[in-house]
Point group: D2
Chain length 99, copies 4
């Protein structure tokens, strides 16, 4: 993930855009990109959505991840570390049923 | 990112949940987690949101990423590769202004 | 509100679209239109958003309401009655502070 | 709709909340309530969602409408008039097919 993070932040910094990256607006952006991803599934089954526009589905997923990386940088957090920590919490919350 | 992906998918498979992971519902889940992230910023400035609940902000960001990983697996796509490809496209769309 | 509801449902029925109006997709549509409304405020203050595109803000608000009306019809509920009932609940939850 | 609008605005003004109602935050609130509505349909068919929690579905729809009314008031617009105008536009965009 490090090279992706490096690429995303270099893109932002080459354009001098960090100054506009208010965290509230980045959180809004994540919702907007997630909605554009979901739009691919509106009025469709998952099968129909995949047949119709896998390219756009991939690009909207990429956009969600790219904004997540930018928000993580602004907040000074390690996104991967946070996700691993959340998985530990999820494992406590949803224990595997013993047989 | 590989170890995170491995952890997320192992969690899912230990619970036998892949069968419920319809892509449309995963896309809905990404929107719902993104909204829970945004809720931290409702009626607040970014500064106030960060002071109030960074832990929840981190966890909701983690949830968005965890669902992205699960959707990518169901679709058979490499999320990191797609994000790098999107960055190439973004660089074409927004060229750095020459001085 | 009755004439608006009548107009929205007549529009739908003239096109024979009720058959496609699965409630889950209507709920998705409300989220998508709400996100398009929010997009007007991305990277902007409220003042900047209003100056830039009030017409689009109005139309996206209209779209949210139009989908709400269609979902209410499919569910057989009276949207106005439900909103008034929710206000009663809100008044219990947030009592006016006595002086 | 007039009595509902009157009730919603009286509720707000009794609590002196208009001062907090920044339009951007109201637009965020509409997205958040729409997402809470959609949450009722996550991992479920429309039929399952309706059986499980119609009361919550109704209340979240009410919340979306209540925030729409508050945003319309702040923007000084007539929500019903805007929806009727949008329907005129929709009729132009999607003409009924002649037989």
């Amino acid at each position: 993930m490090k090279d992706l993070i490096k690429d995303v932040l270099a893109f932002r910094d080459e354009r001098n855009w960090k100054q506009y990256h208010d965290e509230k607006d980045l959180a809004i952006s994540i919702v907007l990109e997630a909605s554009e991803l979901l739009e691919n599934f509106q009025w469709k089954s998952s099968e129909e959505a995949k047949e119709k526009d896998m390219q756009n589905i991939k690009e909207e997923m990429a956009d969600v991840l790219i904004y997540l990386i930018q928000l993580a940088d602004k907040l000074g957090i390690d996104l991967k570390k946070e996700a691993l920590a959340k998985m530990v919490k999820n494992r406590e919350k949803y224990p595997v049923k013993s047989k």
